[in-house]
């Protein structure tokens, strides 16, 4: 009998993986060697047992673990997409800034002095550059411009601000494409839209303003403001009046109002307010919360997807332990979903309705100083001149009387001196009348000395 086959040769033989000669040789040996046949059968059995080992049921927690891992992966993917989106939007914003700067330079160099004539003309570019640059550098980039005005220049100040404050319809259009890419932004169905503003609905901007007005028609002006708020579809969030009117001997009325105006009517309301009495102070800000909003919205979607997955699992769960675990997770996710929805609603409300804080103060009538006398009608100018002269006459007479009475002691002495002087004069004149041809003094003294 030839040498026994080793296990490696047996293995090769079973797989038919030996060379032709080796196979023939092994076959011949197996035919005459019971020991090797037995070992071959044992190996064949081992292989058969290996193949027949039945599959086991995976642990119940496996499915949940996989779902959780997928949910975590989804969050990572979303974060990655947002990062890519941010880079893209940053690039678009930078491109928009370059376009604007180039445009501004072209205008100021080629279009003559118009672009650099005064500060207010340059202001819109400054604003838009700020607007673009801040678009993605911080999630809650704030664009604020503050301007205060004295009573005399209030009108001009407000007019200038109107020109420099681009409202939504003036926002740079280069941003629209980038914003459209975001795509995930929650569409606010309740927000009214105007024709060319659809892409701008993706921008979530909170407009806030503070202004202080003074008026000598407090009640009328306040009433008209409240009427205007209703007419523009807004509402009054807060309204209070304090103090006593000057007309009633008090130190003036003071009113505070918080007005909520639909975003599209914000500009009109601010313009209307500027015409109420005298505008003492104006501050406006526009906070862009698009990124924060988008992030929150994606978070909500993820949470809802997780909840759906858990609910589906819950239907299949049989073990009490699994049900309890799922219930705990469901409760936690439901709470997070409610919080997220509440945050989104709050942001929507803030965006849909601009907030205008108005301070209204009564002015004393005598404080009123006409802006310019040349602007008054002729009749009023004549009337005012007459009143002014009469008042001066009255004041002059009063002053004369006061001075007169005040000077009474000196006047008395003067009168006494005058009376005495007059008396002396009269006595002298009387004496002269009694001796009309009287001798010269030397003549009178001559005889008396001779006698």
């Amino acid at each position: 009998m030839s040498n026994h086959l080793d296990d490696a040769a047996l293995s090769g033989y079973l797989d038919g993986a030996l060379s032709h000669d080796a196979m023939q040789s092994a076959k011949a040996h197996l035919a005459e060697c019971p020991a090797c046949r037995e070992r071959m059968e044992a190996m064949r059995q081992m292989i058969r047992v290996l193949r027949e080992i039945p599959p086991v049921e995976p642990p119940a927690e496996l499915n949940l673990r996989i779902r959780q891992a997928i949910a975590a992966e989804q969050r990572l993917e979303n974060n990655h997409e947002r990062r890519v989106g941010r880079v893209l939007r940053g690039f678009m914003a930078a491109a928009a800034a370059v376009v604007i700067v180039t445009g501004a330079l072209t205008l100021s160099l080629g279009g003559g002095p118009a672009g650099i004539e005064n500060a207010t003309d340059a202001a819109p570019d400054t604003w838009e550059l700020h607007y673009d640059a801040s678009w993605d550098s911080t999630p809650s980039a704030e664009m604020a411009e503050t301007e205060s005005a004295t009573s005399d220049e209030a009108g001009e100040g407000w007019a200038a601000m109107d020109d420099t404050m681009p409202m939504p319809e003036e926002a740079p259009m280069e941003l629209d494409g980038a914003l459209a890419n975001a795509g995930e932004s929650f569409e606010d169905e309740s927000q009214p839209r105007s024709g060319g503003q659809e892409s701008l609905d993706l921008q979530k901007i909170i407009y806030t303003a503070h202004c202080t007005q003074t008026t000598y028609q407090f009640a009328e002006d306040k009433s008209s403001i409240l009427t205007k708020v209703s007419a523009l579809g807004g509402f009054v969030q807060y309204n209070t009046t304090s103090g006593v009117s000057y007309a009633e001997g008090g130190s003036g009325l003071h009113g505070e109002m918080v007005l909520r105006i639909p975003q599209q009517n914000y500009t009109e309301m601010m313009r209307y307010l500027s015409q109420i009495g005298f505008q003492q102070y104006v501050e406006e800000s526009a906070e862009n919360i698009s990124q924060v909003y988008s992030d929150e919205n994606i978070r909500l979607q993820n949470l809802q997807a997780q909840r759906d997955a858990l609910l589906e699992l819950m239907e299949k769960a049989e073990a009490l332990e699994d049900v309890l675990l799922l219930q705990t997770q469901l409760n936690e996710i439901s709470t997070q979903i409610e919080q997220s929805q509440s945050d989104l609603r709050n942001m929507d409300q803030q965006v849909s309705y601009a907030t205008i804080n108005v301070t209204l103060e009564e002015r004393q009538t005598t404080d009123i100083i006409p802006v310019s006398k040349e602007d008054l009608p002729l009749g009023q100018r004549m009337q005012e001149a007459l009143y002014r002269n009469l008042a001066q006459l009255r004041d002059g007479a009063s002053a004369f009387l006061v001075g007169l009475v005040g000077a009474a002691p000196f006047l008395g002495i003067l009168a006494l001196i005058a009376v005495i002087s007059l008396g002396i004069i009269l006595l002298v004149r009387k004496h002269n009348k009694k001796s009309p041809a009287g001798p010269p003094p030397q003549e009178e003294s001559g005889p008396s000395s001779q006698a």
């Binding site: 080793d6 490696a8 047996l10 037995e38 044992a42 080992i53 599959p55 496996l62 779902r67 997807a305």
Partner: protein
């Protein structure tokens, strides 16, 4: 399964639902492949999770795939192979523990196999004692039905190497089974080298 209809973020929920069905359908098979290769439930769960994560990441490339099952199986095996390479030391520990327990594999050439009971319990136990590369090739070939070419592709080595490794793996299995059956020390070491297999006399 086609994922073509899942486009855009709003379809995420639908995508998740369909992916859940995919997991439901294939997790048992994937888990069992992983369990056979990793030899413990915890590692098997980790590798199953890893497999489906990879599937999720590659969900777009599922389009046009004739068999998701084959694809998942390959991903699972590769994940396990990667993990086993990282865990190489575990095998050494097993062998060391084996030696410390006083056991050494017996030579297999004695002709008393008829008395042995080669059942699932014994085979499973013997698998645990194999060096990991031997176990892997044995599992993939004899349990998962891989061809030599598929083995070569999965293990990144030539077909000849696969063949000799498989032969040595089976030989070592037989040695271990024989030793377990006889429970007697032997002076034959488990062979891992290419040409060091002893010939039966």
């Amino acid at each position: 399964m086609s994922f073509a209809r899942f486009k855009g973020p709003t379809a995420q929920v639908g995508l998740l639902a369909d992916f859940d069905r995919l997991v439901e359908e294939h997790q048992k098979r994937v888990y069992n492949v992983c369990l056979r290769m990793m030899r413990n439930p915890q590692d098997a769960m980790d590798m199953t999770q890893e497999t489906f994560l990879k599937a999720w990441r590659a969900k777009d490339s599922f389009m046009g795939q004739s068999s998701v099952s084959t694809w998942l199986h390959r991903v699972a095996v590769n994940a396990c192979l990667d993990e086993l390479r990282r865990q190489k030391k575990r095998t050494a520990v097993s062998m060391q523990e084996l030696s410390e327990s006083g056991w050494e594999p017996a030579d297999e050439h004695t002709g008393d196999f008829a008395s042995r009971i080669i059942d699932q319990t014994a085979v499973n136990a013997a698998l645990d004692l194999l060096p990991s590369d031997h176990r892997t090739v044995l599992i993939l070939r004899d349990m998962e039905g891989y061809s030599y070419e598929e083995l070569a592709a999965a293990m990144h080595c030539p077909v000849g190497t696969v063949r000799s490794r498989l032969n040595r793996a089976r030989a070592n299995m037989m040695k271990i089974l024989a030793a377990m059956e006889q429970n007697v020390p032997a002076d034959v070491k488990i062979s891992k080298g290419g040409r060091s297999d002893e010939q039966p006399s």
